[in-house]
Amino acid sequence: MLIEYLPGDTLIHRLDVRTKMFGFLGFLILSFLFLDPKYQLLIVTLTGLLAFWIKIPLQKIWRMMLPLLPIIISIILITGFTFTPGRFERVSSQAILFYALPGGRLGATVGGFLMGTTFILRLFSMMIVSSVLTLTTSMDDFTQFFQKMKVPVELSMMLTTAIRFIPTLDKKRRLILEAQKARGAKFNEKGIVGSIRSYIPLMIPLFINSIIMANSLSMAMLNRGYGLTRSWTSMREISFAPRDYWSISCIMLLLMLAVFVRFRLHLGGL
């Protein structure tokens, strides 16, 4: 998932974090409601439109998806062979395409492959929706959300600090890497044992440095009064605007429609 905030001024950026969270939940329900890949494709398109709206960096998305390719293929294969015909409501889905092993064992069902495709598309829409959420919502907003949801201050503090220290630790990692390279360390040894061994000179100083840093961070936090009270002043009051009510109504409507289609019209199953 993309975690860095993408500055912008679209409607999605301006929505209240709670509305966005609700929308996220809505898409989650939507995509778990339907089993038919056709409907999933519709959802992916919908999320794709959202992504297009906030001008998501396409290259990054592609780079994120690429390593997943083997997983995608294996998911389709596994579902194709393991879902027995009895698990599907529709007759067309129960059809068996061929048997992988002689003697009528391990049959590949049409429904199984469709199910695999659904899983994949579901994964896609989840990735896109969550990226849209994180890209348009600043860390501040998330902390606000946690606070509104009565999540303890410690937890949101932990999250903010963790995110603050990612670049710092990465810088440390680079410095350590350079220092060890200057002593002739090679970080491209072959084999699993070799590569683990070659990373010891990197990992140990990184752990030690993190512990030292954590120690002085705890001092610095106490120095600045952290933990005196169990809450703190919020830096920004979030509030609903008319656009939030509109958006929530739209999402509700969409959800009701979806439930109606799925359970009344009995569409979208397998």
Binding site: I163, R183, G184, P205, S216, N223, G225, Y226, L228, E237
Partner: protein
Amino acid sequence: MKTVKTVETIKCIENAIELINISYCYPHVEEPCLKNVSLTVQKGKFMVLMGSTGAGKTTLSLCLNGLIPQLMEGKLTGQVSVAGKNVGKTAVQSLSKVLGLVLQDPETQIIGRTVEEDTAFGPRNFLVPLDEIKQRVDQTLAKVRLKGYNHRLTEELSGGEKQRLAIAGVLVMEPEILILDEPTSELDPIGRSEIYQTLADLRRKKDLTILLVEHSSEELIHKADEVVVLNQGEVAWRGIPTELFRNLPLLRKWGIKPLPVSQLGWDFYEKGWISFAEIPLDIPSAAGVIRALLPKYGHWQGPAAGQSKDRLLKQEPFLSEKTISVQVSDLIHQYNSDQPALRGINLTIEAGEFVALIGQNGAGKTTLAKHFNGLLKPTSGEVIVEGMNTSQYDTSDLAKTIGYVFQNPDHQIFSATVEKELEFGLKNAGFKGQAIKERVEQVLQYTGLEKYRSVHPFSLGKGERQMIAVASILVLKPKLLIIDEPTTGSDWTGVQTMMALIHKLHAAGTTIIMISHDMDLVAQYAKRIIVLKDGEVFRDGTPQDVFANEQILLDSAIVPPQLCRLSSQLKDILGSETFIQSSEFTALFESGEKSRC
């Protein structure tokens, strides 16, 4: 009315800090870190705490805000009170309202992602209303000269800015007492004077008590009201700074760096030429003293004679055969899409030279140095080191002939004993069994680390760890040694030990390239100085040539060492000569002394 007034005056001389018989022992350590320390600091004073590494300076400041014993275990006896509050009985968090402590490393004190978020952290914990927080944040940022930085990301700030932000984070809670633990150790001279300027401003504007922990500094002598010297956990001396800095034997005893001009003055004092109070502490008074003494005791034949003598000295190195160690041609380096960090560097460094690379933070010193061992490859141009074109070799291959010691030893130490740490480089270079043992043995002796052979490196002090870092490179017997800031955070004794080692290596024929902010060291040891500015070579020459023109150097934010500035003040007497060693100054008087006898 009268009673009110007396109450007020009593309040005025009230002590901000009061320590009574403090002793503290870290857990699992037998020797106490602080021994019976009693100390009072009056309200509104600017006090400096000095002493060598391990004297207990940091420990003392942690005692003052209650982190000892509330966060750290160990045995503490005695009583600490701060602004009338008993530290033992007040939580660290409540104390932070009256006493602000800025720790050494700014990186781990910055909690927020943006400057505003970070500065607001303290007041938010005290549930200060939002409007007031915003107001206070803006005011505080203006005080530390970070006005308008509110929405900048903290990770993108420079070292000096981070340090000032760390101070802001504490100041925003409006404490009465401010304690700073070595806030300038990793800054360049400009960054350092900015911090001191900030402190001076703060003091003027508000009745703030300041306790500053520092190794030593020229600028502080006239700013601080009082100095306290800690030595091995005990208060060794207390008084006004000028007293201390005139007394050279005391400074030597406690491992505090003396000022170069006062060193000169001490010589005169010992000869009985001037009184103790006349020992100069700044350049104008030093110039005055020399002017006054020259006619009486001097033996100066004018610039011409001195110059010819100097010429002879200079020519000596040229007699030996030249081999080129580093050859840089048209080097340009660009990180990502930004402005180039290096723009067209041309350099030749001969084998056996001692070169100092100086310049402001961000001038490109480290970027250039990293090209010498292949950690960075040229964007365009060529770097040939010891006959190898760095773009064709991997760093791990170059490491066998080119040593690079980084600033922070903690970034490389990973073994359980000093001995094993030294073996790492040799193993990488393909050495086996007996050969490794022999070389490690040699280097342990050479660096004086023998006694720590089977000790865990992290149980040693910073100075020793720095030495381990150097030793772990020396085992490879590099022909060229690059050292990045070998003395940051070390005390005077540590600095001298390290520089003596580097000097010994240079004398043995190793080519040395040293990156440093310490101009006194650069002037004293380097034979050639390269000044970088905005990714270009700004000046290149002998220390005498480079440091001669103060005005030009100011452009690249470099302040020449004290003695060079002194000699440019004495231009009318010395002519075009620039003196950089104190021996050159004393030489002015040597013959005169003889004639007196």
